[in-house]
């Protein structure tokens, strides 16, 4: 592997990311999957980086799941998205910052469609006007939340309390970066580093002391795939995808996985447990699972946020061995304590993949 | 002098081979199926006995068939076989007449000169000696040819000669030594006693002039006896086993025993009857057109005798049957090859000496393992009731001209017919049989048979000789099976089909499966003579060639097939015919690719010759414009 070659490609795929004044739109599913992540993102942006991030409570789904699940027609989707743009315009913001990769991909796709087919945009404007009476301006800048963290990775690094380094050996942690399919596979030029060798997460990992590993099935989908997971009969395909990735990364003995998509951490995390139940297989070193994180969680960890504030207790694949590896101080007893009450009823026995 | 130790090797050999021949014959007889046993008994004690004796005399001794096809090779075989026979016959008479006793032990006549050295000085005795010398000279002349043949086969007019094994070489050497050592032994004895005729006497006196003849004679008598003994003892392990076996074969064949489709004693008898004369090699088109020189029937027979894995040899054959026609011993070579194909891959194994003398009869051809049915996907249906079924065959579907011609002929003949495989049918099963897969073939045969039964037809016409052969031989049908050439001939003869005479020169290529395979030679030629000028090619009937495209061979490459086809096409178009006619879709396709002369199936030529009934003109013919439109549509 020649790193110079990758660097040459990364140089070709740089995108413009706004500096400040972000209009943040949340993901539908992330708040259920890993509710700590978006909170952590806002905390980092507002408290650590001192950025203006605005949220509009009228924001709804972008219909991405319905659109990719072949349920919502494209014109409907465009009109819903046009309403999101209108909300941003009304709020006085121009830099759209979606939390969700699918939303990001969908916005990019719609903006590109309108760019090539202005008559479609006109039609959608008309429809939106008819339905809601709203007007909108197209965003001046569209960046995914991970793009912004990537942009400020050095600032985060400067304020970091921990680094992605094995405390005992001093070696950098081996990190698998997994990029959501809708991030750059549809529009490679809109992703940091392009589609083949994305740099958005790799850049963070490198900056924060870790070592990214490049394994054969790096490009493979996590298996969420909307129709694959949402229909129970298809779930075998979903889990097979994740398994393919785990089999491929296993020889590299990864310490952790970092992701930037709502679905990926969910499935890479939960399917490890299911595969273990079905086949008794684990993929981490020492027979443990490989902990899976969102980039916000990783950023929060290196900044020294409390793991339980980040919501790491919501992970099915146990994170605590990794926390110990990095040397993060945390209170194991406080894992399931919320407002002084232990909420852990009867779960932990099988929630860990060991 | 009544006895000398040197006769012991001869005696051992002689009695061994006699006992062995009896034992082996008994085994063979026992192994014959019950009907075959009865046949042989009837044949042996019945009126075919004389015929068998005649054939033994003509073929085993005189070698008439070889003489006919290759006089020099025939002379070689005749001199050795017939000469030796005469030597024994006249030797026995000599011992009986001139010896001390009548009815002597065999060695007395074989070594007569040793025991009666003074014999032959004058008169009748001298004349008899002259006769014996003449016979010996006759044999030695053949022997000389045989020795030369080993080193240069062209002398006896053969292109190829079979290769030998070690045991064959030892046996051959001992055979070669027999007559020269007799010559020398007799010559020395004659030299010492001043007897002997023009050969032994003259040679004897020359030798005696500078050698101690008395002392020299004895070792050569030993050599003579040893050669004979060795030859007799090794005989069952070598190709010379054909000498005694052929006698058995002639009786068995004349009794009506056939190879059949199961391995048995008759198969073994035939295999041991092959003398490796090599005539099949010369007849084989794979040899002279495609340069394949190691798969001919002589090699197959030898491979089986030596217990080798012969599957590659067995499958590399066009199954054209030319060698069957030429084999001087009359071995059913193609049916024997089919038996080897049915066996699939045989296992090569080392044999003990005992096994070599008495081969394991049961494990020679293991049955193919049983398997589930292969063609369960075939569904029966109800074909339309009809009088005549036309079954074009798979290959005919690749030569639509034949198919269309046959439809035209059937229409013109006015018979009620059903084109059974118009939309593509099930294979007849013959190709599977040719690949040794009879069980699978039977599935297809059953399927097709049911359809034919259900149609209620009384006649089945096919365009493909491959189909024709299997319909004839392996289907149990209550219908008359006709190749289309036969059908056309019938239709012409009963006046159903009216044909023009086409002024074309035509040569005819007889397809193997139809001609040699099924014996249909005349009908296609009769039909051709009816519509065109048929020229002879020099490769008529049994001597016809194979086009090279045969389904019988699954081993040769398309290049080799085309080499054969080009040679054949060149031979058959030598006299520049207008059309090279054949009566097989496969032959047509193969030959058409190998020549610029038009190649056509008989059906095509006949279809061209059909006299179309005059179209009655309608009185109210439409006006010109409408007519033009009609023409345009045509």
């Amino acid at each position: 592997m020649k790193i110079e070659g990758k660097k040459a490609i990364w140089k070709d795929y740089q995108k413009e990311i706004a500096e400040d004044k972000f209009y943040y739109v949340r993901s539908c599913v992330r708040q259920n999957f890993f509710p700590g992540s978006e909170t952590a993102f806002l905390r980092i942006m507002r408290d650590v980086l001192k950025k203006d991030v605005f949220e509009n409570p009228c924001h709804t789904t972008c219909t991405g799941i319905g659109y990719h699940g072949d349920i919502v027609p494209v014109e409907t989707t465009m009109t819903v998205v046009a309403r999101q743009f209108a909300l941003m315009t009304e709020s006085g913001y121009e830099n759209l910052l979606p939390s969700c990769i699918t939303s990001f991909g969908l916005y990019t796709e719609i903006l590109d469609t309108w760019h090539h087919f202005p008559e479609v945009e006109e039609k959608i404007r008309k429809q939106l006007r008819k339905a809601t009476g709203r007007e909108f301006k197209v965003p001046k800048n569209l960046a995914h939340a991970s793009d912004v963290i990537y942009k400020f990775r050095k600032e985060i690094s400067a304020k970091a309390k921990y680094r992605l380094i094995n405390k005992n050996t001093g070696e950098p942690l081996k990190v698998v970066d997994h990029i959501g399919c809708h991030y750059a596979k549809m529009f490679p030029s809109k992703g940091v580093g392009g589609a083949e060798y994305p740099y958005v997460l790799a850049g963070m990992v490198e900056e924060w002391g870790g070592q990214v590993i490049d394994y054969p099935e790096r490009r493979h989908c996590c298996g969420f795939g909307f129709r694959q997971y949402l229909i129970q009969a298809n779930r075998g395909f979903s889990i097979a995808c994740s398994k393919e990735k785990f089999e491929s990364m296993k020889p590299y003995k990864p310490d952790m996985i970092i992701t930037n998509c709502p679905g990926c951490p969910m499935f890479l995390d939960r399917w490890q447990y299911v595969i273990n139940e079905m086949e008794g297989k684990t993929y981490g070193a020492d027979g443990e699972g490989i902990p899976v994180f969102t980039y916000e969680e990783v950023a929060g960890l290196v900044l020294g946020f409390d793991p339980w504030d980040l919501g790491l207790q919501m992970h099915q694949t146990d994170c605590e061995p990794l926390l110990r590896k990095i040397g993060i101080e945390y209170d194991p007893e406080a894992k399931y304590v919320l407002n002084g009450v232990n909420t852990n009823v009867n779960a932990s026995t099988y929630l860990e993949v060991r | 002098m009544q006895f000398d130790p040197f006769v012991i090797p001869f005696n051992i050999g002689l009695y061994f081979i006699l006992i062995y021949a009896v034992v082996r014959s008994v085994i063979w007889f026992n192994d014959l199926s019950r009907p075959d046993k009865l046949r042989l008994q009837r044949g042996f004690f019945g009126k075919t006995f004389g015929q068998s004796i005649k054939e033994i005399f003509l073929e085993s001794l005189i070698h008439r068939k070889i003489l006919k096809s290759n006089p020099r090779l025939g002379y070689m075989h005749m001199s050795l076989a017939f000469g030796w026979f005469l030597l024994i016959l006249f030797g026995t008479i000599e011992a009986d007449v001139f010896g001390a006793h009548h009815l002597n032990a065999p060695y007395k006549s074989i070594f007569f000169k040793f025991f009666n050295p003074e014999h032959g000085r004058a008169g009748f005795e001298a004349a008899y000696s002259f006769l014996m010398d003449l016979i010996l000279a006759f044999i030695l002349s053949g022997l000389l040819l045989a020795v030369i043949k080993r080193f240069s086969s062209k002398v006896v007019g053969m292109k190829k000669t079979t290769k030998l094994r070690v045991l064959d070489k030892v046996a051959l050497t001992s055979l070669w030594l027999i007559f020269p050592s007799r010559l020398l032994a007799e010559s020395f004895t004659s030299g010492a006693y001043g007897t002997g005729s023009f050969l032994t006497g003259s040679l004897g006196s020359v030798l005696a002039s500078f050698l101690p003849a008395q002392e020299m004679a004895y070792p050569f008598w030993w050599l003579y006896s040893l050669s004979l003994g060795t030859f007799f003892i090794l005989l069952p392990l070598t190709r010379y086993m054909h000498i005694p076996t052929e006698l058995f074969l002639i009786f068995a064949r004349n009794s009506g025993i056939k190879t059949g489709d199961q391995p048995g004693a008759f198969r073994e008898i035939q295999i041991y009857s092959c003398s490796s004369c090599g005539i099949c090699i010369d007849a084989c088109q794979l040899n002279f057109s495609a340069g394949i020189t190691n798969i001919q029937s002589a090699y197959l027979m030898k491979g089986i005798r030596n217990n080798e894995n012969v599957s590659d040899i067995a499958f590399n054959c066009l199954m054209c049957g030319r060698c069957d026609q030429k084999c001087p011993v009359g071995i059913e070579l193609t049916p024997l090859r089919m038996l080897s194909r049915r066996a699939g891959e045989t296992v090569e194994s080392e044999q003990t000496i005992l096994k070599k003398y008495f081969p394991d009869r049961k494990s020679v051809l293991p049955a193919r393992p049983a398997a589930d049915p292969s063609y369960t996907f075939l569904k029966q249906y109800e074909p339309a009731k009809t009088d005549v079924i036309y079954f074009a065959g798979c290959m005919t579907h690749l030569t639509p001209a034949i198919k269309n011609s046959m439809v035209a002929i059937l229409e013109a003949s006015g018979v009620r017919y059903n084109f059974l495989d118009e939309m593509g049918g099930v294979c007849c099963g013959r190709p599977l049989m040719l690949a040794g897969q009879d069980r699978e073939a039977r599935e297809l045969i059953n399927h097709n048979s049911q359809l034919i039964w259900k149609s209620g037809a009384h006649t089945l016409v096919t365009s493909c000789p491959i189909c024709y052969k299997v319909f004839k031989e392996s289907y149990y049908l209550d219908v008359e099976v006709l190749h289309h050439s036969q059908f056309i001939k019938n239709m012409i003869e009963d006046g159903s089909l009216k044909l023009n005479f086409l002024r074309r020169k035509v040569t005819y290529h007889a397809p193997c499966e139809l001609g040699r395979g099924s014996g249909v030679y005349d009908e296609p030629k009769d039909v051709l003579r009816y519509v065109a000028r048929l020229q002879e090619t020099g490769f008529e009937d049994k001597n016809s060639l194979c086009c090279g495209g045969s389904l019988g061979n699954i081993k040769i490459s398309s290049r080799q097939k085309s080499m054969i086809a080009h040679d054949v096409a060149a031979e058959l178009t030598k006299d520049n015919p207008d059309i090279l006619a054949t009566s097989c879709p496969l032959c047509k396709k193969t030959l058409a690719a190998a020549t610029t002369t038009k190649v056509a199936d008989i059906s095509e030529i006949v279809a061209d010759a059909i006299i179309k009934p005059a179209i009655k003109k309608k009185l109210t013919e439409p006006a010109g414009k409408v007519k033009m439109q009609a023409d345009f549509q045509n």
């Binding site: 592997m1 070659g5 040459a8 083949e196 054969p216 490009r219 | -």
Partner: protein, 340 residues
């Protein structure tokens, strides 16, 4: 005085044109951007379909272009042609000017830059090389991996940068298929135990004896052909290449490990040709090659009278076609100079 013709580009087309022009008695100047003429021929080891050494063709071209009447000017990149009545003023990168009565443009082709097909990882994965790199190995006489070992399994990808809408090249480069087959055979000659797999979209064996070579590769050299373009390459933990393609004829996706992957880079309009054409007003087609005045009977004529094309600056061609095309250009020049 003799008429003076300038030939731009000292590859096969340029050298052949120059040689033929000299024969007819013109003064010829041949400009070559590299230090020596020969173009791509210098980089190739053996030629398809008969695997004759490329040096033999080079030798022929050197012979016809040496001696009186031809001036070979190397190391000069011509940037602009300006017509002034019957005179052409030609200027190079450094600003030097030359004049001519007629011009033959033979700027040739560039090999497609394989790094642009990012998914193949050329320049990233150690043992992903191009057809040109492989020729270099043939010249050196050893096919080795970066770590010095000998490859056992070698994949060859056809159509890299050709027939590829994403790369902006809709055309077929025509020679890559036969080059792949030739190189597959040469690999097997060098490494008799190596296994070679060609991943193709279509086998376009249109030239004389190309199809025969393809058959030879299958029959005698046991080269495996898989119909399906490689879509993804990654490196395995032990430094082998994991390639993914669909075996479209088996109707299944296929994954395979190879030690080396050879990319059959296609042909593109040369960068120098692009610059020269745009600055001189020479028309180009959608495929970016020079667009001849007529595809059937004017394949050497440009849109400017007195400027003619020879060789692969108009479309992908093999050497035989290039030489014929160059000779035809000379015919056009003769006719033009006779008229003027």
């Amino acid at each position: 005085m003799n008429k003076h013709v300038v030939v731009i580009g000292g590859g096969v087309a340029g050298m052949e044109a120059a040689g033929q022009l000299r024969k007819t008695g013109f003064e010829v100047s041949l400009f070559e951007k590299e230090e020596k003429p020969g173009g791509h021929l210098n980089k190739w080891y053996k030629l398809f379909p008969d695997r004759r050494p490329s040096s033999e063709v080079k030798e022929y071209l050197d012979n016809i272009t040496s001696g009186e009447g031809i001036k070979i000017i190397t190391g000069k990149t011509i940037e602009k042609i300006v017509q002034n009545k019957n005179q052409f003023h030609i200027s190079d990168k450094e600003g030097s000017e030359y004049t001519a009565d007629a011009v033959i443009v033979a700027t040739g082709f560039d090999l497609f830059k394989s790094a642009r097909k990012e998914e193949y990882g050329y320049g990233i994965y150690d043992n992903v090389i191009t057809s040109a790199d492989l020729e270099e190995m043939f010249r050196k006489g050893s096919i080795t991996l970066v770590n010095g070992r000998t490859p056992e399994t070698i994949g060859i990808v056809h159509c890299v940068g050709s027939r590829d809408e994403k790369m902006g090249n809709l055309y077929c480069s025509k020679l890559c298929c036969v080059t792949a087959v030739k190189q597959a055979i040469e690999i097997r000659e060098h490494l008799p135990s190596a296994k070679v797999f060609c991943f193709y979209m279509d086998m376009r064996m249109g030239g004389a004896y190309y199809e025969e070579l393809y058959r030879e590769a299958q029959e005698e050299w046991g080269v495996n052909f898989i119909r399906g373009k490689v879509s993804e390459v990654s490196e395995s933990i032990n430094n082998r290449l994991v390639i993914k393609s669909e075996d479209t004829l088996a109707g299944k996706p296929l994954k395979m490990l190879v030690d080396m992957l050879v990319l059959m880079a296609g042909m593109e309009m040369s960068e120098e040709g692009l610059k020269l054409g745009d600055s001189s007003g020479l028309k180009r087609g959608d495929n970016r090659f020079f667009s001849p005045a007529d595809h059937h009977f004017g394949s050497n004529k440009s849109n400017l009278k007195g400027i003619y094309y020879a060789g692969t600056c108009t479309m992908p061609m093999n050497i035989t076609e290039t030489i014929s095309h160059a000779r035809a250009a000379v015919m056009d020049v003769i006719e033009y100079l006779k008229e003027s």
